[in-house]
């Protein structure tokens, strides 16, 4: 392996479901959720502050596999979503877990908006739960969705929810925050809110992942059929004409084009480029504006489950685990790994239009 890449010590024992870098600019903390029912908190820096293979700070056991995880307002605050139908808040300092709400099915994803102090969870019961973190007493607002959500991503102002049947909703976070604040009392608090935009996915197959651009201009989505689409929020005709999709994460073997799902997408916080991770174990960096691939890294031994850039864009974390798509249920020891690449100054920078 390249010298600028290292694998994180003591990885989860089962497939990884999500991996997030701390949004803090100089933090090297990573939180990882796994199917082994644990949430892992790593710091890449050792005692001397040198960035290396890092160490496991803490491990939080859950009752069921954890499907998603995210940092909250500070690094000491972690939110998790799991198969036990719960949305939880973990306070790292005290290691306490608090259930924010419970869905009626497994919770697929959870995101935190620091601009609006909202924790939003999406569950296979086809609802979103919107929690206000500054007012934990209020019951979360429940927003019905037309289909099961598969992936969620947000910017400072928008929330993008990708669902089954190629549905995609874009919510205005301000409106969500206001509606949630209005709701009083306890008990389930159902609110019908019209999304800011309803869209159909540009991709023909099931949406696998969605990620928003850091400049709040648009988002990228990926499907199980080796394709990534890049779209813009702006509903004007010119902006919509800019949207495009491209094929990736494919291999030709014996005349058959083997198409892998694109499991993960993540935007670089500084350059606005993005990384995609596929079932083929390949991670590629793309320049969404110039429509070019910047680079592609050497194939990893198993499917890429999650990718994320660090807050300052200097590191790219890649979580690999044998995907379900491979057809092998049993996770062999040592196939679940977290790699961290130290990116060069311009490694993730777009080349600019020619």
């Amino acid at each position: 392996m390249a010298s600028n890449q290292f694998s994180v010590a003591s990885p989860p024992t089962d497939a990884i479901s999500a991996l997030k870098f701390s949004p803090d600019a100089d933090s090297t903390r990573i939180v990882v959720s796994s199917w082994d029912k644990n949430v892992y908190l790593y710091d890449l820096r050792d005692e001397n502050g040198a960035v290396g293979e890092g160490k496991l700070l803490q491990k939080f056991e859950h009752r069921a596999p954890v499907l998603d995880v995210c940092f909250g307002a500070t690094e000491d605050e972690i939110y998790t979503a799991g198969l036990d139908w719960d949305v939880k808040k973990i306070d790292v300092a005290s290691s306490t877990q608090t259930v924010l709400s419970s869905h009626e099915a497994g919770v697929r994803s959870v995101v935190f908006s620091k601009e609006h102090n909202l924790v939003i969870s999406a569950s296979w019961d086809s609802t979103l739960h919107v929690h206000q973190t500054n007012d934990p007493a209020t019951a979360p607002a429940v927003i019905p969705l037309p289909s099961k959500p598969f992936s969620m991503s947000l910017t400072a102002t928008k929330l993008v929810v990708a669902m089954a049947s190629r549905a995609l909703h874009i919510y205005d976070l301000k409106a969500l925050a206001m509606l949630t604040a209005q709701s009083e009392g306890t008990g389930p608090n159902k609110i019908e809110i019209e999304p800011w935009q309803r869209r159909e996915s540009s991709l023909k197959f099931m949406t696998r992942s969605v990620a928003c651009m850091p400049d709040d201009a648009g988002y990228a989505s990926s499907s199980i059929e080796g394709r990534v689409a890049v779209e813009w929020f702006d509903p004007s005709a010119e902006s919509q004409a800019r949207k495009y999709a491209f094929k990736c994460h494919r291999q030709t073997a014996d005349d058959v084009d083997v198409v892998y799902p694109v499991n993960a997408l993540a935007f670089h916080p500084v350059h606005g480029t993005f990384a995609s991770g596929g079932g083929d174990g390949v991670v590629a960096l793309w320049d969404g504006i110039a429509k070019r691939r910047i680079r592609q890294y050497q194939k990893y031994p198993s499917s890429v489950a999650a990718v994320d850039f660090s807050g300052n864009g200097k590191y790219l974390a890649i979580a690999i685990s044998p995907g379900f798509e491979d057809g092998n249920d049993d996770v062999v020891e040592g196939t679940v790994k977290i790699f961290v690449r130290e990116l060069g100054e311009t490694e993730a920078k777009g080349k600019g239009a020619k």
């Binding site: 009752r63 259930v99 099961k148 099931m206 084009d257 083997v258 083929d280």
Partner: protein, 422 residues
């Protein structure tokens, strides 16, 4: 004693696939195709290799929103996108003919050189130059007819004001290379003519041809014509030469003294070559020949010649080419042409056969690694027994009680056929 192998035969050379765009030839069609993909059909923006110029054009417009205007790395006159080329398919017949002619010329040139060096007699040449006489058998009427036709054509093109097209010098690619112009400009017509004309001779003995196309090419500046005009008396009975021909001869030298910029004259000269060239190779002249033919020829000049040639053919296509080819067709010996065509046909057929398999490959089927478009991989995983959630009311209190049976039971049953999980 076994006969020594002296390199590839003419037939082998003729059968070699070659690239329309740059006139390189290759050992086999596969290499040609990969050459074309790498040199001519490669996208400069993303490096993608397409199969045809049309494919590249579509790719450029769709992917990069750019318009492809010319084929990369092509000879100046072959960069057009209009001709759809794949391997040897799609090459216009006239270009194929010209190429074959070029191969023949080169081959004979090499042969002549070797003969000059070794002093060996040309293969098949007996004593007294018997075979070399054969070409003369062309009847007087044929010669006259050909001359008349050629003159008529020239006159026509001249009066039509389109002499530039018929005259390769007009195919200005060589502008700025003044010294080359007479050479490059002239050869096209020689080639165009000889492409069909000398082939009958070829069957008799490849030798006579040897010097003929080369000779005029490199001699225009000097005064090779008077001597050559004396050839016929030396080696032949005057019979095949119609009364008209000597006149042309006398006319040509003077025409040549005209500055090379005059583009109309070279064709005239070349028109008179064929009769003369037939007489050139007679054995008595053998010692002289190397001095004329061999030294000036090098690869670069050959290239120049061919480029000029191609330019002429390309430029002529709409107008002059039909007349030229038809008139020539009438003249040439049928058998030789047929043989040639047959060879070309089998070659292209073979090429077709090979290339047919290719597109099939490209249309390979796609296989989705994960093909369930309704249920996400995570949902499937969640249904595995080992991930099943059994609520057991531990430290954390769930807001709503979870009926465990529904979670595990139904989910596991319906989609998982794996007995290991059951």
């Amino acid at each position: 004693m076994g006969k020594k192998r002296r390199g590839p035969t003419l037939d082998e050379l003729m059968a070699r696939p070659w690239c329309y765009y740059c006139e390189r030839d290759f050992d086999d069609l596969k290499i040609l195709i990969s050459h074309q993909k790498a040199k001519h059909f490669k996208c400069e923006r993303c490096g993608r290799r397409l199969n045809t110029a049309g494919g590249l054009s579509v790719h450029m417009s769709q992917v990069h929103k750019e318009q492809l205007s010319a084929v990369d790395n092509a000879l100046p006159n072959r960069s057009s996108l209009d001709v759809e080329i794949f391997g040897m398919e799609g090459v216009p017949e006239d270009i194929i003919q010209a190429h074959h002619q070029r191969v023949v010329t080169q081959f004979q040139q090499a042969e002549a050189e070797r003969q000059a060096v070794t002093g060996n007699p040309p293969p098949g040449t007996g004593v007294g130059g018997q075979p070399a006489k054969k070409p003369k058998l062309e009847s007087v009427s044929d010669l006259k007819k050909r001359l008349a036709e050629h003159k008529a054509k020239k006159a026509e093109s001249r009066t039509g004001g389109s002499s530039g097209e018929a005259t390769p010098v007009g195919a200005g690619q060589m502008a700025g290379q003044m010294p080359v112009i007479p050479v490059g400009g002239q050869t096209p017509n020689v080639g165009g003519f000889t492409a069909n004309y000398p082939q009958p001779y070829g069957t008799a003995s490849p030798y006579p041809q040897t010097a003929s196309p080369v000779y005029p090419t490199f001699s225009p500046g000097q005064q090779p014509f008077p001597p050559s005009a004396q050839f016929p008396p030396a080696g032949y009975s005057p019979q095949p030469f119609p009364t008209g021909t000597p006149q042309t001869y006398s006319a040509t030298p003077s025409a040549f003294q005209v500055p090379p910029g005059q583009s109309n004259t070279p064709p005239q000269t070349t028109g008179t070559f064929p009769p003369r060239s037939g007489s050139l190779p007679t054995p008595p002249n053998l010692p002289q020949r190397p001095a004329v033919a061999a030294p000036p020829v090098n690869a670069y000049q050959m290239q120049q010649m061919h480029m000029g040639h191609a330019a002429a053919l390309n430029g002529d296509k709409p107008h002059a080419e039909p007349t030229l080819s038809t008139s020539v067709d009438e003249l040439i010996n049928g058998t030789a042409k047929q043989a040639d065509a047959a060879a070309a046909a089998t070659a292209t057929a073979a090429a077709e056969k090979k290339t047919e398999e290719k597109p099939k490959k490209d249309k390979s089927k796609a296989r989705l690694v994960y093909s369930d478009n309704e249920i996400s991989p995570e949902e499937k995983m969640a249904r595995l027994a080992r991930y099943a959630y059994v609520p057991e009311d531990t430290d954390v209190v769930a807001v709503e009680e979870v009926p465990a049976s529904t979670v595990v039971g139904t989910n596991r049953m319906d989609s998982l056929g794996d007995p290991a999980d059951a």
